[in-house]
């Protein structure tokens, strides 16, 4: 049943999508084809599909570690931005741009920065019991503004015609694509490792077991002597690390520089991916591929059929809505209750 819910939700989302398309005056079947099939018809489409799925899956894996312990990190978007800033900072200003160490350093900088950003809500929650949902979400806006200030101000490319963006990263700081015709790069391997690591951690390790106890029954965790603060720290830091690395991979990968459009909302979409994937490593892979297709299809129909770009967000929202509703109806039953006389 738990596995069935995402399937039901996807089908319902497609039905609602068709109704939308029809209401906008397009043939639903043709539009669905343009949305979900056409983007995958070319090598470039497949490359883009994996390229966009990779950060979604990576971040969702990190977030799910926390979600399983009822630690709600909603601010992966901010952690991604901070990770991208730190990694780009290293890439732009490292004295030796040819160094073999540059990419590993950027990787570590992105990860550390994402973790540091997530450590703020972790500290506040563990010490002062603040609500991590609010703190992580608000820190996202701080991160966005910090990025905006950097690219408009101190890090702006002097040769960039006043565009709010940094100089391009040096070649040694870039993740080289497998084939220069396409954009897919080795960052997908990082995601693959993360998926396996996440599976090992949540399904096999004792630490992951403790986290799942904390999430499912906090009193039982206390009874067994598992520290709640440990679950909070691990949960938030895992999400921060994953998002920070995703930010690094975006900056050093397809974008090659920092700009305010560093992420098309990967950090938020990954939350949906984690839930569609049932907080399970391999489910998240499927969820990430679906969500990536929504991004691609949204861009596609925007270009070919002139449909509004908001469609992508609508599809994401509708999908999450139906998923939560399907979950609700798995656990509860609606019944008519007659008014008592």
């Amino acid at each position: 049943m738990r596995v069935g819910a995402p399937v039901v939700a996807t089908v319902l989302t497609l039905i609602v999508g068709s109704i939308f398309f029809a209401a906008l005056g397009h043939d639903p079947l043709a539009t669905l084809h343009a949305f979900f099939v056409a983007p995958l018809n070319s090598m470039n489409g497949l490359s883009e599909w994996l390229l966009k799925a990779s950060p979604l899956i990576l971040i969702a894996c990190g977030l799910a570690v926390g979600f399983r312990a009822n630690v709600w990190n909603i601010g992966a978007e901010g952690q991604l931005i901070i990770g991208a800033i730190a990694a780009s900072g290293v890439g732009l200003f490292w004295p030796d741009p040819e160094s073999m160490l540059l990419l590993p350093l950027m990787f570590l900088a992105g990860m550390a920065a994402g973790m540091a950003w997530a450590a703020i809500p972790a500290f506040l929650r563990a010490r002062m019991n603040t609500n991590e949902i609010l703190v992580t979400l608000m820190l996202t806006y701080v991160a966005t503004l910090l990025l905006s200030w950097l690219v408009h101000g101190p890090w702006r490319d002097p040769a960039g015609f006043n565009y709010p963006q940094t100089a391009l990263l040096p070649v040694g700081a870039m993740l080289e694509p497998f084939d220069y015709s396409y954009r897919l790069n080795p960052s997908v391997f990082i995601t693959m490792v993360a998926v396996v690591a996440m599976w090992l951690f949540t399904d096999r390790s004792f630490l992951g077991y403790k986290m799942s106890v904390s999430g499912a029954a906090p009193l039982a965790a206390r009874y067994a002597g598992f520290r709640e603060s440990a679950a909070v720290w691990i949960g938030l830091l895992a999400g921060g690390a994953a998002a920070g690395v995703a930010g690094m991979a975006e900056a050093a990968g397809p974008l090659g520089q920092l700009s305010p459009q560093i992420s098309p909302g990967y950090g938020f979409a990954a939350i949906i991916v984690a839930f569609v994937g049932r907080l399970n490593a391999f489910g998240i892979v499927l969820g990430g591929l679906l969500m990536s297709l929504l991004f691609l299809g949204g861009e596609g129909v925007q270009m070919t059929l002139g449909l509004p770009s908001a469609l992508t967000r609508i599809f994401q929202g509708v999908l999450l809505f139906f998923l939560l509703a399907a979950d609700f109806f798995i656990f509860y039953r609606l019944r008519r209750v007659r008014e008592k006389a």
Binding site: F206, A216, A217, R222, Y223, G225, K340
Partner: protein
């Protein structure tokens, strides 16, 4: 005479079990009718069907000779069938009269409702102040609120589900007087219990259930308890063997001058609690629930810590500041009162729940959970304690309360503790399994472990404990040697009416309890 209630061939299946199998019985007006049975015998299901909270798959229910067709609780109340659940459904933060107003019809005028409550409580010997807030009431008083709520509807049939499990012996006597008076006025009473002595004292007629079937009917007053027990259990009852205690020289658990303020507004402060538990003995802590047991147990298990480290010593080590895991390293094992959500993680499987506290016993290696070891560990508990479950893969929440309790007790015992803390070891556990759990506790202590049992059931404590402590309003009495005390003395200590505390509490909350 037309029976007040008649059941004909009631059947109810749940996936995997037949809860009620072809049950027929009838209850006359003014009769006190017991439904006896072990846990899982189908009593609760049957009561839910009678009350309309569950629907039978087949069979018919007649009330005063009329077939009830579409059944639900509203229909029941319209017919005059009322039910007092084992776990009360009261809002703690509002007053008695407001609670009652929520569930009676036309309760617009609180003052006149309060007057009616006062009148009824007077008439049935259950004094209660309608304007007191529920959280101030003792458990016995809360039950009175529930019963009065039912009586306001002038019921023709009152169903009580294990009503005495939370009462002091004195409060039980009071309750029985009320019930007899009600029956004399023509109200039929359906009394669900597994306590034979109570049924023999109170009930005119008994229907015994086992595995969802009626296995016998009896007039309890004319039947020996052995015969009734045989009908319930279906085989010979196991006998307890309690050999004399062999207390160790040094205490395993020492509590010295432990005082704390409760964390929740409805909790009880502990006041200067001191006692010892030696290896080789079982010490019982008796008391009406809500007198500080929860606080004391949390402090002993380490779920709550105390600043003065030597207030609690375990095997000689000052331990009051240690967390649960560190105390477990010292040899503590603990069976909490709440099984689901505290002693076990509801959606997790049994093997996962085995890892919860047995992770130092080979089920975790190199930071990874060894599923095979954990599965084997769970399997051995299931076999040894005859837990009814579909193997280590079944989830904790799929087990009945009694079976889960057996699993948790089995798990903690398998840890071979030096100190075993057990809260309500046999709550909701059937007669056969209770005897097994108690025997296991006795055997553990005789093998050298120190065992502290917190229970509200005096019979249980008297059966297995070597010494008894009584907790009342956060104070713990001096230890009583089991063979030198009796229920009367313990009952008085439980209500705070012994010599020392009489002045302190006699005029307070417990004035109504005697």
């Amino acid at each position: 005479m037309i029976p007040r209630l008649e059941l004909r061939n009631i059947c109810k299946r749940y996936p995997g079990v037949v809860a009620n199998d072809d049950i027929s019985m009838s209850i006359q007006p003014g009769e006190i009718h017991a439904v006896l049975g072990e846990n899982g015998a189908g009593k609760s299901t049957l009561m839910k069907i009678i009350y309309g909270a569950a629907q039978a798959d087949s069979g018919e229910i007649y009330c005063d000779g009329n077939l009830i067709e579409a059944h639900n609780p509203a229909v029941s109340r319209a017919l005059g069938i009322e039910m007092v659940y084992q776990h009360f459904a009261l809002f703690e933060s509002v007053s008695v009269v407001e609670n009652i107003a929520l569930c009676v019809r036309n309760a617009s005028d609180l003052e006149s409702l309060a007057a009616r409550i006062g009148e009824l409580s007077e008439r049935y010997g259950m004094p209660i102040d309608p304007h007191r807030r529920v959280h101030d009431l003792s458990v016995g008083e809360r039950q009175r609120v529930e019963i009065i709520r039912c009586l306001l509807q002038a019921p023709k049939l009152l169903i009580l589900d294990e009503p005495t499990s939370v009462l002091t012996p004195q409060a039980v006597v009071k309750l029985f007087e009320t019930l007899r008076q009600l029956a004399a006025e023509g109200c039929s009473i359906l009394y669900i219990s597994h306590k034979l002595d109570e049924v023999q004292e109170l009930c005119d007629f008994a229907t015994v259930l086992r595995n969802g079937k009626v296995t016998g009917t009896a007039r309890p007053k004319e039947t020996t308890s052995l015969e009734l027990a045989r009908m319930m259990v279906g085989s010979k009852l196991p006998e307890m063997h309690v050999s004399p205690p062999l207390p160790s020289e040094k205490p395993v658990l020492e509590v010295r001058g432990l005082s704390v303020t409760a964390r929740s507004p409805f909790g009880t402060d502990l006041k200067d609690v001191s006692f010892n538990v030696h290896g080789g003995e079982i010490v019982g802590l008796a008391g009406v629930s809500g007198n500080g047991q929860a606080e004391l147990v949390a402090l002993l298990s380490g779920e709550r810590t105390h600043d003065r480290n030597d207030a609690i010593r375990i095997c000689g080590t000052a331990a009051a500041r240690l967390g649960p895991d560190e105390r477990r390293k010292l040899g503590v094992a603990f069976v909490p009162e709440e099984r689901l959500g505290r002693g076990a993680v509801p959606p997790h499987t049994l093997w996962e729940n085995a890892v919860l506290t047995a992770h130092r016993f080979g089920t975790v290696r190199n930071g990874l959970v060894d599923r095979q070891k954990a599965g084997a560990f769970a399997k051995s508990i299931i076999d040894k304690f005859k837990v009814k479950a579909n193997g280590p893969q079944s989830t904790a929440q799929s087990l009945s309360g009694g079976n889960l309790q057996k699993f948790i007790v089995g798990r903690e015992i398998a840890l071979q503790p030096k100190l075993l803390l057990v809260a309500q070891p046999t709550w909701g556990v059937d007669v056969g399994a209770s005897a097994f759990i108690r025997q296991t506790l006795v055997d553990m202590s005789r093998a050298g472990a120190a065992v502290l049992v917190v229970s509200e059931e005096l019979d249980e404590l008297f059966e297995i404990c070597d010494r008894l402590l009584v907790i009342c309003q956060g104070r713990v009495s001096a230890p009583l040697v089991r063979t030198a005390t009796d229920r009367e003395e313990v009952g008085l200590l439980m209500t705070g009416l012994n010599g020392n505390n009489a002045i302190a509490s006699g005029s307070g909350e417990f004035a109504l309890e005697d």
